[in-house]
Symmetry: C4
Subunit: 237 residues, 4 copies
């Protein structure tokens, strides 16, 4: 029995193991789609019943999978407190908690169901690469995020000085000016806030010329470390 389960849940390349992996992946995607559909307003009661049934079915399977993984683990505590152990636990927790919880905190709880997506990391090469890439470049990313945040803060203070009097509703404080900095220096530019004074516009010009280069760096680091992670051979797939 234990050998059979071990053969099933471990990615050893056997036919059964592969089929089981595809089945779990299918359930993850299914439960994520179910989750998305549930957020649609004006769902008919019948649809809600179907969605809840699918959700319950997924959770039952995920629970059995979780128990099986604990059962076959060489060191049970080691698995339970490993990355995938915690993810597997968090993926089913919201469902069981939802019975004993009042409605207000249910909203956040439902969001926790998204942790299921991380279960995909176990099977999905692309996701695993992404996780590796972020781990690899962590230190550099933090360093440049500090610079980026400082520059964004500096831009916010500047624009606050120039625009506060002309547009007190949009640039009411440095905190609301920060929103302008973020949207502008990433070149998203929604157009909900923008400078209208001459001084503010000239300041924006110089901040853009310098700032675009700075904000581009964390972007570049993530890009290149992700590309590197994909090209490097993996130990086991």
């Amino acid at each position: 029995m234990k050998t059979y389960l071990k053969n099933l849940v471990e990615l050893n390349g056997s036919k059964q193991s592969k089929r089981f992996a595809y089945f779990i992946q299918f359930l993850i995607i299914l439960s994520v789609i179910t989750f998305s559909i549930e957020t649609l307003p004006d769902l008919r009661p019948q649809t809600q019943v179907v969605l809840k049934a699918i959700e319950a079915f997924c959770v039952v399977i995920f629970t059995l999978e979780y128990l099986a993984r604990i059962y076959v683990a060489d060191s049970k505590p080691k698995f339970i407190f490993s990355f995938f152990g915690i993810i597997d636990f968090l993926a089913i927790l919201p469902f069981y908690l939802s019975f004993g919880v009042d409605l207000r905190s249910l909203r956040l709880l439902r969001m926790f169901r998204l942790f299921r997506l991380f279960k995909l990391v176990r099977y999905n090469k692309a996701m695993r690469h992404f996780a590796n890439a972020m781990k690899l470049a962590k230190e550099q990313i933090i360093l440049f995020m500090i610079i980026t945040i400082m520059l964004i803060y500096f831009a916010a203070v500047g624009i606050y000085y120039f625009e506060n009097e002309a547009q007190p509703e949009h640039f009411s404080s440095i905190f609301s000016s920060l929103w302008w900095s973020i949207v502008t220096l990433t070149t998203v530019g929604y157009g909900d806030v923008y400078p209208i004074t001459v001084g503010g516009r000239i300041f924006t010009f110089f901040m853009l010329l310098i700032g675009l280069g700075v904000v581009a760096i964390p972007t570049g680091i993530i890009s290149s470390s992700l590309t590197k992670a994909v090209e490097e051979p993996e130990e086991k797939a």
Copy 2:
């Protein structure tokens, strides 16, 4: 006769072949422009007659070209089911189908006329490079598209959680939040939807810092593989 036609339709560098190629390219561009003009509202009846005549003329020539290419092909089935054989067929199909079809499905059918643009690939170096580049990087592009789509989905769920209560009309479900994710993480930023809560704005900031790097990768892969495809020598031009 067969030798003459062969000499004509094949790109063997002869004077006749070159002239024929320019003629066909001219017709393709002409028919694409005709197609664009047809979409203009409030066209006068005379103009419509002229446009239809040009279209009919182009289709006749394309049909003759298609038949000639089948006629001179060493292996007729091989040509018919090759990339260019299918494109040549699809380029004339909508015209002939339009006689036996009701008006409702005509709209989509007319769009199929655009397949004519792909006929240009045969003659146009730039288009051929683009096709090669996409084929070359196909695997990598798919891998990163998965990561990109996951990140966009993740951003949509996050912003849905933060903004749904404050702006139920714009962030009514995860599906409508996806539109925000796409527009924001590509930095297009139309400004039709944007977060207004403090939580949503902080979340946007961090998604932008991480997400811009991820979304930039498929872009970068296409760029670099296209540049590579252009620099490499071609077998025949």
Copy 3:
């Protein structure tokens, strides 16, 4: 006399030549600023008189400079039809033409005064680099511009198909859809036109993933050839 003038207008590194070069550069910038101020609405009559006087003074000096350059040239026709010869001529032409011209075409004529900016290329290292870079990468830029334009056209046709019925005022024809393509694929995203149908938004997503990479290439070529042009040593500065 000829030797003195030659010494003056040629960039031979002598003190007089340098002073003259700075003087001409100052006049170019001055006349460009004058030109910009003239476009301001509601100028007082006194200001207009001053601006016209400055303009007349600049043109007189530029004319004398032009004549001197012809006078000292080894081969007069060669100078007159060289790049700088033509620029020097176009820089003064609008002023003299404006006496015999009716008011309607004056607007375009005034714009021609901007050719003066190109006179700066002679003195300004940065401008010269830019001109060189564009010349160097001309062939590649044209190749990729064709691909870019085709992709933009393709996106316009697609969005026209999806959005024409829902927003006939913004996507009235393929030509008006082209504006959307340009603004979206360059990620400018003004927000004056954007898709509202589900089909149009999904199409936008895929066009962005592919299109951003394509549109980025001409940008990249200009960037890299400009950077190369700056790093390479110049023959004479």
Copy 4:
């Protein structure tokens, strides 16, 4: 006494020195946050009192630190006129000046408190890298800024010509057209001004194709020089 202070304010790696450095950094961040909160409208009087007390405390400590640094310096004038000497002075100046100054100029004076952020450069590796990177690439950045500014000016003149008649309120002069150039060529695209004429839109298209490449260069230089500055070993940290 002098030896003790020297040991304290100099970054010699001793335990006391480290603690002191962390304390000063904490005060800088605290005073910057205080500064940001002060800009919030509708603060309660009690909050204002607390903020003013924190500000006074920070300034007292910064003043003591400044005096200590002068006291222990080998060459007092050299320290006072060094980068950090001036920054330390400017960081406390606004507070003392605010006693003898009327309310109107107080606004700008308050902004000067931000110079405190530069005090962080002494302790923060990321900030120091940024300062080095800017110093390194100064010459190149200036060269390309000139090209960028010229291109932005050229775009402004062109769009003024095309759009001035159609939208005199947005493109009233070349100076107001410059704002459009900046927002468009950096791809921010707020959407407050955009061309509506066919000519203006075609012009925008070509300016974008060329301009994006040019504007991307200062960005790229800052990115790469910042990345280089981080990878190079520092003399002392």
